[in-house]
């Protein structure tokens, strides 16, 4: 068994929904497509399809849970729509940076939708951008970020933290500042 090739094929299978579907329909053809040695084709094709589907869905579920923790207020605001939007956005293997990368993708999507007037609630793009900015400062190193917002985030965040799920609110411009002066100093954050 050429373990490296088999592991590569397994890693692709577990993280690619299209490949899982093809495998369930025709395991042997899928195994051959992945360029495995003849003996490993047999091993790969003999994988139990139900457990492969189970594992693939477990991996997706894990990514969802990680991003929920990474953008907790956005998740609170969107409820079940959060998972639906995220799953569509993170198809394929996890990217480097994992949950941070997945969260950044979702934040970009929500911001883009808000810019097109297609987001509901209309302030969700601001909130996602706000939370995603903190991710930049979870890494070492100094830096500064200034973000402008269209909606009163301070009020919206307060409402979400107290368990409310705010609806539409009138726009009111605001700004956020994130500043780390040295690589070992604390993060300074202000929101207007």
């Amino acid at each position: 068994m050429a373990l490296a090739q088999l592991q590569t094929a397994l890693a692709r299978l577990f993280t690619d929904a299209g490949l899982v579907e093809a495998f369930c329909l025709d395991p042997l053809a899928t195994a051959r497509r992945l360029g495995l040695a003849a003996k490993d084709v047999e091993v790969f094709a003999a994988l139990d399809a139900a457990t492969v589907q189970n594992f693939a869905s477990t991996l997706t579920r894990k990514r969802i849970l990680d991003v929920r923790k990474t953008l907790p207020l956005t998740y609170r605001a969107l409820g079940s729509d959060f998972d639906t939007l995220l799953v569509a956005e993170i198809a394929g293997p996890p990217r480097p940076g994992r949950h941070r990368a997945d969260a950044a993708l979702l934040a970009r999507l929500l911001a883009a939708r808000a810019a097109q007037g297609a987001a509901s609630p209309s302030w969700i793009g601001d909130l996602a951008r706000y939370e995603a900015t903190f991710l930049v400062f979870e890494r070492p190193g100094r830096g500064v970020a200034i973000r402008s917002f269209h909606f009163p985030l301070k009020i919206l965040i307060g409402a979400l933290l107290s368990g409310e799920r705010p609806g539409e609110v009138a726009p009111r411009p605001g700004f956020g500042l994130w500043l780390r002066l040295t690589k070992s100093s604390g993060l300074i954050h202000l929101l207007w």
């Binding site: 373990l3 088999l6 091993v43 994988l47 594992f55 994992r98 890494r139």
Partner: protein, 272 residues
Amino acid sequence: MSRPASLGSGLGYRPQFRAELFLHRSEVDFLEIIADHYFDASPEKLAELDMLAAHFSLVPHGLDLSLGSAEGVEERYVEKFAALIERSGAPYWSEHVCFTKAGGVSIGHLAALPYTQEALDVIARNVETVRKTIKTPLILENVTAVVVVPGFEMSEAEFVASACALTNCGWLCDVANLYANSVNHGPSLDESFEHWPWERLVQIHYAGGRWKNNFLIDSHDSATDEPVWALLERVAKRAGARNAILERDENLPAFPELLAEVARARGMLEGA
């Protein structure tokens, strides 16, 4: 293999319960930290690590070293792990008998290895590589095998026992994984029990799981199930276990519920 220190009954650290943890400091004997959460970390995260290390014995637990990857382990990842172990003053550290990446694809979770001699040779080679950088004792954990790779040459118990013996590592026995694999794939625990490397046991993991499509998932999102408690007690008696960690990642309950589980495990360790 010399057995590392006796630490008692502890908890897998999660930032959500940090404040309550310090309020109940005397009820938690030690903490396990997810190593990956402290790599490339912000000053705030490193300050958290230092604060935890000042009050608890810490054991770093890795998720993504991928000791079973045939293409080898990542040098940079090992260096980060080494720095964390040094900073935390850990008596030992742990990783899984699995692979998490291959061919440039990161799976994002623990995938079971084929139970073959080739996979054992890979683990031995990778552990040897890691030891050039990290001298602190490593213990190896058995995983939940959601997908079992066909063509195995030995049982899971024999595979994990051989991995520990070949590398001269201690064993981190996850009793929830042991239980899940037995009900999902067999053989029964009674059948396999004596084939596990009890003489190498250093630490136990326990957690609650969830049934989905007639399959028990190691989800860490509920209280530990009674069959897992029974197994923990059996393991403690069989191997004289001295260290146990409760793993709870999702649906975190009120902190006293976690403390009650930690206390119950302590009773089992002490009664062994």
